[in-house]
């Protein structure tokens, strides 16, 4: 039950994009088209889950024993996540070209996605175990994907819906994002 609650709350109640405001740059940047949003979502899910596992190992076996987790956490996580993403990119390009093509440019872009780092840091703060960390990161990634896909769908329609000229483009997108965020506030209280 605990895991279910963790899963649901990470997706809906504490949605990374719409409640915690993490990962806003890809949320606004690659939500113009449904197809690109799908690619980004897949890449984020992949990287976030693996990054959670690796950062948990670093934290538990390197930083905590050396007593460095207080001040080196962010720095070492960024370092590890960045190189991990690059490594995955290279390996995937070689061994799984179709998957690499599907995720495309989104893989390296995630290097700078704060949602990935955010998931790792939140994991450590909450003292999650290994399995719980991975599950939380995966759920958070689904939440991210959900928000991104909904937003991409909305933007595609708004693009055609002829808004007033001063609202066209980014302006109406930001308003929509705000309304979407308000809508997700409705989930608060779903999980205690």
């Amino acid at each position: 039950m605990e895991y279910v609650i963790l899963f649901v709350s990470a997706i809906l109640v504490n949605n990374f994009v719409l409640s915690r405001f993490l990962g806003i740059c890809p949320f606004l940047g690659v939500s113009k088209r449904m197809s690109t949003a799908l690619g980004m979502s897949g890449a984020v899910m992949f990287v976030m889950t693996i990054a959670a596992a690796v950062t948990w190992l670093i934290q538990t076996f390197l930083l905590v024993p050396l007593g460095l987790d207080g001040f080196l956490q962010t720095l070492s996580f960024i370092l590890v996540i960045a190189s991990l993403v690059q490594l995955i990119d290279i390996v995937m390009k070689r061994f799984a070209p179709p998957l690499h093509a599907a995720l495309g440019i989104y893989l390296p872009l995630i290097t700078t996605n704060c949602a990935v780092l955010g998931a790792a840091v939140i994991n450590m703060k909450s003292g999650h175990g290994f399995f719980k960390s991975v599950l939380f990161a995966f759920a958070a990634a689904i939440g991210f994907a959900l928000a991104l896909l909904i937003f991409a769908g909305l933007r595609e329609r708004i693009e055609r819906a002829d808004p007033p000229r001063c609202f066209k483009g980014v302006a109406i997108s930001l308003i929509t994002a705000g309304l979407l965020s308000l809508a997700f506030m409705g989930f608060s209280g779903l999980v205690k």
Partner: protein
Amino acid sequence: MKTTSSPFVFSGGIHPAYHKGLSAGEPIRAIDLPPHLAVPMSQHLGAPARPVVKHGDHVKRNQLIGEAAGVISAPVHAPVAGKVTGIGHTAVTAAGRTCEAVIIEPHTPADAETLAPIADWPRADKAALLARVGEAGIVGMGGAGFPTKVKLSPPAGKPIDTLILNGAECEPYLTSDHRMMLERAEGIRIGAEIIRAVLGAKAVRVAIEDNKPDAIAAMEKAFAGMAGDVAIFVLATSYPQGAEKQQIYSVTGREVPRGGLPMDIGCVVENVSTAYAVFDAVVNGQPLTHRVVSVTGDAVNTPSNLLVPNGASYADLVAACGGLKCKAAKIISGGPMMGFAVNALDVPTGKTTSGVVLLSAARAATSGYTSQACISCGRCVEACPMRLIPSEISQFVEADDIEGAETVCIMDCIECGSCAYVCPAHRPLTQHCRRGKALIAAKRAAAAAKR
């Protein structure tokens, strides 16, 4: 022979004001011969006919003046005896295209020729009857103008079991088919028998909307003696009841598959006027050179149903109706729902001109369309007889997103105009669909040309 009301009701559709009373009571009358006729070479769907006469030639009535240029094409005959005074370009035909036209100045003696009548048609060869339909230049007279010979020769794998005679005439204002059914019922019946024989169809269904009880009575009387499975189907008055796919559903309950044709489900729909033309061509040897045109609308002095030689201009028709009451703010070639607006009266009539509607400024919406935003009320979705989502289609087309428009099935649109009619935001939905379809057709043609 029985009369039934249809158990099937197609989804969507609208009920515009019909205004048929203006001309429904006017018997068909022939107009005086105009000083010259500009007979268009494209009075049908497909390749325009090739003129076979030249400047200065004398032609007899019914003489071939344009030969069919391809499989989907139809020959054109001279409606009067006269002298060819030129072969020019018409500004626009009744179908909104431009094409070549043979200009004929009628003269006396009014000598004529005809095709050889096939008096013994019940025992005639099918192929001979079909050939006659082709050489008489018969095309669908409901509006689209698809060559009837092509329609009556389905491929071997597609047997036709039902012939539907379309007497719905769902377009507002128009009454030409209505008058044909009242005054030429016997000819329509014989035409139907000939078409049935050509197709080898078992069932014949005459479809008429229930707002024309006199036409129903006339057809009942005419078809009473016809052998075989024959029935008059009384359809609910609803636009577009006369559209092929909707009519087939109303009569048989069958649906034409997406991208398919009526023959895929064993049906052929022919307009009642087309059936009469078939009778005239086979029994009298008369090619299709004249047709009945409703000239109506509130700007016309005496709305009438006129028997008109092809190539007479709208101005000749209006003159035959006693001229105009007031300035016509809008001239519609065809009915107000699916017709084309034209900007002058020098347009020649053709085989598909079922009517000319002239509206005063008070009646015509000449400034109604705006491109306001869609308010997402969904009325167009309810009205669409093809069960499409016109609001979405129009937004895709407005955004020039042609691929997107294809995903919402724009190519299934029949351009009936119901969506634009009901739109409370006055969005030109049908026009967007039409533009989108044209863009897609152009794109496909370009892709085909590349290959």
